[in-house]
Amino acid sequence: MLGTVSLVMGSSSAAVATSTHFPALKSLPTSRIGHHNHFPTLSFPFVLPSTSIFTSSFLSSPLSSLSSPFNTAIAAVNSDSADKQESNKYYFLVANAKFMLDEEEHFKELLFERLRNFSERNKEQNFWLVIEPKFLDKFPNITKRLRRPAVALVSTDSTWITFMKLRLDRVLAESYEANSIEEALASTPTNLEFEKPENWVAPYSKYEYGWWEAFLPPATKAEAKV
């Protein structure tokens, strides 16, 4: 049946050819894991912060070596990215406010996840959302392609901005320098209004209007409350 179905699916005949089932390749981790037949009820190692993912009883050799490097790697990465960037350089992604704050709900989840991570590891926040940023005036090539009001995600961590560009895709990316953080994150007061989606079919409601206030630069937050 598979063959039949696949064949009619356009050019998929190649898939039929390639999807034939082969037995496990010899080189697959079979041998490594295979000897652990004693899996007790808790067979799979459980992750606790201290023990990390793989207890040595579970996966011997290459995997067990993963555990400690993970923990130490975190510190290394964090300090790296802080050091290698000049503090007055800011990287940003920008798009219209509707896209950034209303449509891309995973974006809200990512930002809160990162905020939680920074607080767990006592890192100083280095990313913000800026509504109608003043720095856009320096980028006519961006503003002419931008619906307004616009919202920018700004960070001093260029590596993270590269990741966020990959995730959001439909955003424009650039960088700039500023003498102070206030200057870097200055914004023009703007009222944001989003129309309710015509056809909301999700079995949950949208994230609440204003979720982004946690990410506005400190000065703007104060203004927003007034």
């Binding site: 049946m1 598979l2 039949t4 179905v5 696949s6 009619v8 699916m9 356009g10 050019s11 898939a15 390639t18 999807s19 034939t20 089932h21 037995p23 496990a24 080189s27 697959l28 981790p29 079979t30 295979g34 000897h35 652990h36 004693h38 899996f39 007790p40 009820t41 808790l42 067979s43 799979f44 190692p45 459980f46 992750v47 912060p49 993912i53 793989f54 995997l63 993963l66 790697a73 975190i74 990465v77 920008v94 219209n96 896209f99 995973h106 989840e109 996840e113 991570n117 767990e120 931008l146 590596t159 993270w160 590269t162 990741f163 990959l166 439909r170 955003v171 079919v201 079995p203 949950y204």
Partner: protein, 411 residues
């Protein structure tokens, strides 16, 4: 993962080839997981059909293989090595991979998967049909995550020399999958069961997919997994009366892992523009999307008890997940099906009807030959419905880094 494409179409049909109880046991669905990764990984532990045994020694679920049993996946590792060899392939956007590596190293969920006593208490309260549903859900999910672990782990090992950054990302993703599988297996222990993953590793057949198909299918599996998890999470948060087992409370953070894994496959595809930029790529993209969506829809409709058990309307839930996954996928695949066209859902619903008839044939007492003859017209009807869905006018899509429509785009 790759499974999806293949199993996708297999599942509704070959169902009849396997024993009904095995495969069709009408509950659960390996929730997000079976789509989330190595899709369609099907498994059925016999013990899920019988009352769990309290004895700790007797609690390993034994696994019966059927035609559609869970498969593990393998690929052409040499081709993978060539694809990601930085010396051969100068176009590799290492910046994206390095950015991903930093994200994976950050390890957002390092301390997330910690259980509490609510699990066991909730499990003890679950009896009868609901208990069975959950056990099957945990088994299938665990196997699916575990198969992801195996494939990513091996890729991490094999690419170490040619592209250490990509290799390390694979290793870190296998860390996530191992963690998820471990968490699920712990869940099984609440039901006095455990999956013997060592046995699984040895006993399973491995299905081979070329790298390109691994990319398309795994991308989709990870992203659809994200949408399934987050939808369930947000629904249960709003309707806590359906929160019958605490594992769902972990989904919000958990599914961020899935989403990031998907981003990585997005970067892998962008590093191989030949898989994105011609008419063949468009046909394949639509094929994989359709396969994954149809599989999920048919599968879930067979297991509405699970969704209804947690307060969801199965079809509405699935359509929401399909639409969102499709919108996400349109950020990278060069073409996607027009799933928001109401005709698409009508076609899916007709497929469900045909599939139900097919299942009914399997449940009759006819001779095997008679059953097969009865199936022919139904299978043909299903195929033509799927083909019609495939031929619906697609939507041109893609990353703005490649898409032809980029210059016209207003951000």
């Amino acid at each position: 993962m790759a499974a999806s494409a293949e199993m996708a179409l297999v599942k509704p049909i070959s169902k009849f080839c396997s024993r009904t109880l095995e495969f069709g046991s009408p509950r659960t669905r390996a929730i997000p997981f079976s789509y989330s990764k190595f899709t369609a990984i099907k498994m059925s532990a016999t013990s899920s059909q019988s009352p769990p045994k309290p004895s700790k020694n007797a609690n390993k679920a034994s696994i019966k293989e059927t035609l559609l049993t869970p498969r593990f996946y393998t690929t052409d590792f040499d081709e993978m090595e060539t694809l990601f060899n930085t010396e051969i392939n100068k176009n590799l956007n290492q910046a994206e991979f390095e950015a991903l590596l930093q994200e994976f190293k950050t390890d957002y969920n390092q301390t997330h998967f910690v259980r509490n006593k609510e699990f066991k208490e909730a499990a003890d309260k679950m009896q009868g049909a609901l208990r069975e549903i959950f056990v099957e859900f945990l088994e299938r999910s665990c196997t699916a995550e575990f198969s992801g672990f195996l494939l990513y782990k091996e890729l991490g090992r094999r690419l170490k020399k040619t592209n250490p950054v990509v290799a390390e990302i694979f290793s870190l993703m296998s860390r996530d999958e191992a963690r998820h599988a471990g968490f699920l297996n712990k869940g099984l222990s609440d039901f006095n069961l455990a999956l013997d993953l060592g046995f699984l590793t040895k006993a399973r057949k491995y299905t081979f997919f070329k790298p390109k198909f691994i990319f398309y299918a795994t991308y989709l599996s990870e992203k659809i997994g994200y949408w399934r998890y987050i939808t369930i999470y947000r629904h249960l948060k709003a309707n806590p009366e359906f929160q019958c087992y605490p594992i769902f409370k972990y989904f919000e953070n958990w599914c961020q892992d899935e989403n990031r894994h998907g981003d990585f496959f997005s970067a892998l595809l962008k590093a191989q523009p030949q898989f994105l930029n011609d008419w063949k790529a468009k046909l394949w993209s639509r094929f994989f999307c359709l396969s994954v969506y149809v599989t999920m829809y048919l599968n879930d409709c067979q297991r509405t008890a699970f969704y209804e058990g947690i307060g969801l309307n199965t079809k509405e839930f699935d359509m929401h997940v399909i639409i969102e996954t499709n919108r996400t996928t349109a950020r990278i695949f060069p073409a996607v099906p027009d799933v928001e066209n109401p005709e698409f859902k009508r076609k899916l619903d007709r497929m469900v009807e045909i599939n139900e008839k097919l299942i009914a044939v399997g449940e009759t007492n006819d001779l095997p030959l008679v059953k097969n003859l009865k199936r022919i017209p139904l299978a043909a009807a299903l195929v033509s419905e799927i083909l019609a869905a495939y031929l619906m006018p697609p939507i041109e899509s893609g990353s703005v880094d490649f898409a032809e429509f980029e210059p016209q785009l207003v951000y």
